[in-house]
Symmetry: C2
Subunit: 262 residues, 2 copies
Amino acid sequence: MRVWAVANQKGGVGKTTTAVSLGGLLAARGENTLLVDLDPHGSLTAYFGMDPESGTAGVYDLFRQTTAGSVHPETLVHETRFPHLHVMPASTAMATLDRQLGGREGMGLVLHRALTAMSDRFDTVILDCPPMLGVLMVNALAACNRLLIPVQTETLALKGLERMLHTLDMIQRSRRMKMDYLVVPTMFDRRTRASVQSLRKLRAEHADTLWEGMVPVDTQFREASTVGIPLPLMQPDARGVEAYDWLLRRLERDEKQHRAAS
Amino acid sequence: MRVWAVANQKGGVGKTTTAVSLGGLLAARGENTLLVDLDPHGSLTAYFGMDPESGTAGVYDLFRQTTAGSVHPETLVHETRFPHLHVMPASTAMATLDRQLGGREGMGLVLHRALTAMSDRFDTVILDCPPMLGVLMVNALAACNRLLIPVQTETLALKGLERMLHTLDMIQRSRRMKMDYLVVPTMFDRRTRASVQSLRKLRAEHADTLWEGMVPVDTQFREASTVGIPLPLMQPDARGVEAYDWLLRRLERDEKQHRAAS
Ligand SMILES: Nc1ncnc2c1ncn2[C@@H]1O[C@H](COP(=O)(O)OP(=O)(O)OP(=O)(O)O)[C@@H](O)[C@H]1O
Ligand SMILES: Nc1ncnc2c1ncn2[C@@H]1O[C@H](COP(=O)(O)OP(=O)(O)OP(=O)(O)O)[C@@H](O)[C@H]1O
Ligand SMILES: [Mg+2]
Ligand SMILES: [Mg+2]
């Protein structure tokens, strides 16, 4: 089972859109796919018509005092109306987890253990992270074997990427784990000078960890989120879908190479 | 002294852009303006060429064990290269505050006390909030006398607004404070059906707390952030600037009416 995390502390860079689009592509091929919403604001949960305020069984139950350790993760997985695509929803109560758990040790592997218990059920699990550093992001980094960092193609976002990579470095050292990450340029707009310049700068400064493609600005993403259908299932030939299909092929190529090497 | 907070748990909706644009307009008129960056990711701090990882004196010092209570807030305020525009910067260390402070009482009024100590120095203070509910957002809500909630004109964002308003309601009840908020539609793109539909829906469902205008999509915002100049100071006649000028006039009109009534 492959576990991919999608994270960036900067808000609105396309984390949820990336998770939903890759999930849609994999489900369209008939592969069993689980999307896990780790954002207390619950964008991915709401995308699939579920309510993050309803207290539906989900991610929070893995951490909640009364249920942690006793709940079986299978019971937290919900079907969507799309075959082969499942969701483990977020709830707004997750916003209090950092305060509740505080300095308590050992809370970084909760998600990893839950996903391992389901490893024969899904081919791929994709983790959608909140735009902040906290216990939920740390859990995602510990549970994943590949990290995708969407970065908007604009100058300030590049400075934000540096900070994200420093944070990553800090977490890797304190938890003695090695993170294999890929930077994914998003919302590229060839009409905007800032967008063209920042993609060029990304390619110059992050050549070895940067995906060679980019996701273009595509208003169809907003249209798709209006009807709660992953764009690959709504309009497979959309520009944005072609880009995510290209990204998926790169991720799978890396996975094959990695397996062959070990 | 007026204190305006700009908040929404949804990422990438234009919080920092709103704070920087209103700040630029006020500074251009010669009014003493302070921008406070409460986001550990430090987008506003980086916008003005400062480094959130450098540990420069700023917001964190108001909360840090060793300095809280003893530091004079004036020492945390930095000049920018724009007359009348000052910044109290963020630092990435702020990401640990929720864990550090945990359930400790009385940490909700730290910012309010610091700003009150400087009330004769600035005409307006604008608080840029992080995309998450935590001690920093609670401090912003307790310190402000007006709350601006930028909402992207797309369907998922409308569901997110409902959640934001529920969160606000919860905080108001638990802290017995009354929050006067204004919803600000942002990134309106009249070419996208989803954008037009969601603006119509916002106007139907939130008529009494919604600003009658909207901020259009304007690629000049990205260009301005590339050079670290607030758009009103770089290009006063840009479409986006006209919209923020219109918003500023509405805020000031409300302020006058509020003062006349009390
Ligand atoms: N390539 C794209 N072209 C155009 N719009 C896009 C693209 N990718 C994402 N969007 C739109 O941008 C907005 C933000 O995207 P999204 O919610 O996926 O970002 P996020 O990083 O998950 O945000 P958050 O930080 O709140 O979790 C959404 O309205 C989405 O539809
Ligand atoms: N009206 C607009 N038209 C076009 N682009 C915009 C507009 N407003 C903001 N932007 C761009 O959208 C991106 C997100 O804006 P911004 O960083 O202000 O959002 P935010 O809500 O502060 O994000 P975060 O949740 O990370 O704090 C930036 O690249 C900004 O330049
Ligand atoms: Mg998201
Ligand atoms: Mg911001």
